[in-house]
Symmetry: C2
Subunit: 400 residues, 2 copies
């Protein structure tokens, strides 16, 4: 944590655990007999209960979206750039709900939890969960929290897919759907990258068919590789160029940003050590991630991405999927995002328009690739902020 | 081999081995005391020795560029689409020389060869080789073959980088430089993908610090993963879409092209089996490759790519590098190549123009991504063919 809590931070926060004893039937047909979800909230629910916003996290996110858990924390929650008093998702105005999804590894029931039927870790026996299953579990959470409707459901990337599913499955419980840097379903290239990530995990000698926790080991190398591959797809080519330059000689002019390259010589190693900043950066990202994330959860999250297809009950027609989605929509995309590029958001926008929905769409010029949705890019933050201010004014009118 | 040899095939071919006993000092400063290069030639050298073309291979290529080794071969050499009687690189007109580069694993001295100093496999002791080292070894080969100059040096991707190095280091020995789908040096993203590939190999339990051959084992999983990652970058997003569709449901309409998906049900597995064609395809490509390629060679080839930078002796100025390159240039790129996209070729073209060189440049509209340079795309083949016909006419005039 910084020496003093910034004025626009939600400050110290504590997660709460919600337990669910009613069995949940998943899309696969499997049944979770019971489960828990770990949740954080920021800002107060108003008396009329019209100001709640649900935050849906992406592949590696969790419930800790804003603020600090304790005074030792060096970093705030993953979306602190957007959530706080006076920020785009303004906790002076909204009651913000953020959960760790089912199958996660940050406190909600997932592969690293104990399977009540066996007394062992779920591990690979934890069922495959889909975006639809998550939204169903979020609906139950909402009921338990006694929230009648969401002023908005907001998410980026895989989080944006949950937003779309909310608008399709439970439109009567959502007033605004804010879907950022997402896609209506994955491309073959997206699936290919996910499969490489999965294969790198499952072929790690320490994976043990997913039973590594029982064995007291961990597929660290595999998870590290999976994250390295993922990380390349989150950054744009131009962002990488700006961050790392193009060659050893470029780095020499820029050595303050040097990530572990041999500073003594500044020359090529002519070996298989790290020669370029971008290599150290990827190692660092992969290493850090693999220390804090469950490999089975990573597998589940990538499958949820691959399986996402809201048209499956609508003859492949996305506009039909939105036929009853009478909430309002805000779509945003980023110009250099090559994982879920602007044209994928436009596919969604076109389907919404064809379905006669009310939709705003903004393509943000940003150099940072897919990662942009997590960053404090002024035009992006301003647009989200302006949109949600209107959402709040409407909440007030509804409450009046 | 097909039942009968096609009329435009070079037919049955046999590689020859050239041995070099003079030590070769590499860019790293290390010295190879002796080495051999394995070579194939197609078509006859004319009396005036003006019609020789050198083919430079890319990351996974070798000397076997055209024709068949024996009647059991199911596939011809890797560039058979371009090399043969009447083809773009016309063996009725040209004497085509194709070699396996130093460090390779198809017969030239490399990590899987015996180190004469130890009597053991070189393995990780084989020195890092650069594009410049390859060109120096190709120059010696040329002298040994008694070829005074190349009518053209031709290559795609990493092969195109050798072409550029020829034009810079030995312009007096090259009349035409044909550089296809290449880049003046790698981007940070290119290097990042290479580093993921290397990391997947070196973290394989069977890698044994590169001494897997001594141990009688092989880092098959790591090499497979490396190839899977590579393969994604060779194909365009649109090519993948065309080849694999977007979802399980798309594949159902297209089951004749199905790669191993569960044909019985056509439904999602809700597990970690293969659900999508693109996954099986990548597995298949990775599997096949990892059975036939040396992992240490793969490491070397990716480092040669990362290290390529022809401006290193010219203050980072590519046009200065070409100041003495008085051969003629043909550059070609492919519209959907995102590994080495057209703008990278244009960087080369612009530097050549600035240096006052004679250069033709063609951007081919093609859906197949980087892989396009290996395919029989009509406009591409026609352009290469037309260019080389002129090269031949000039050879004749020179000889006359």
């Amino acid at each position: 944590m910084p020496e003093s809590i910034p004025i626009d931070s939600v400050g110290l926060v504590s997660p709460q655990v919600y337990k669910f004893d009613e069995p949940l039937t998943l899309r696969s047909g499997k049944v979770l007999p019971n489960y828990q979800l770990v949740v954080e909230t920021y800002g107060e629910l108003n008396a009329s209960k019209t100001n709640a916003i649900l935050i849906c996290h992406a592949l590696s996110g969790d419930h800790h979206a804003a603020g600090y858990h304790d005074e030792e924390d060096s970093k705030p929650g993953w979306w602190d750039s957007c959530i706080g008093p006076g920020k785009a998702i303004d906790t002076n105005l909204f009651h913000v709900v953020s959960l760790n999804n089912l199958g996660g590894c940050a406190g909600s029931t997932g592969p690293a939890s104990i399977n009540p039927e066996t007394g062992q870790y779920y591990g690979p026996d934890f069922p495959v969960v889909t975006v639809r299953d998550w939204v169903n579990s979020q609906l139950r959470l909402m009921d338990k929290m006694d929230i009648p409707e969401w002023a908005a459901v907001v998410g980026g990337s895989l989080g944006g897919m949950q937003v779309l599913r909310w608008a399709i499955s439970y439109p009567e419980r959502v007033r605004h759907a804010v879907c950022i840097a997402a896609a209506p379903k994955l491309s073959a290239q997206n699936i290919a990258f996910n499969e490489v990530a999965r294969h790198s995990i499952t072929s790690d000698r320490n994976f043990h068919n997913g039973r590594y926790l029982e064995k007291g080991t961990y597929p660290k190398q595999g998870l590290m590789l999976a994250r390295m591959v993922g990380h390349i797809t989150y950054l744009s080519d131009s962002a990488m160029r700006a961050k790392f330059g193009k060659s050893v000689s470029d780095f020499e002019q820029n050595s303050s940003e040097n990530f572990g390259r041999d500073l003594r010589t500044g020359t090529l190693s002519f070996g298989f050590n790290v020669d370029f900043q971008v290599e150290s950066y990827l190692h660092y990202q992969g290493e850090r991630f693999s220390e804090n994330f469950d490999a089975n959860t990573y597998l589940l999250m990538t499958k949820a991405l691959d399986y996402f297809d809201p048209t499956v009950d609508f003859e492949g027609d996305l506009s039909k999927a939105f036929a009853n989605s009478d909430c309002k929509f805000l779509l945003m995309s980023f110009s250099t995002d090559w994982r879920f590029p602007p044209e994928r958001s436009r596919e969604i926008v076109n389907a919404l328009l064809k379905a006669g929905r009310e939709v705003s769409y903004l393509e943000i010029q940003a150099d940072q690739g897919h990662d942009a949705f997590l960053l404090a890019i002024p035009r992006y933050i301003e647009a989200l902020s302006a949109y949600l201010k209107k959402v709040h004014e409407q909440s007030d009118q509804n409450a009046a």
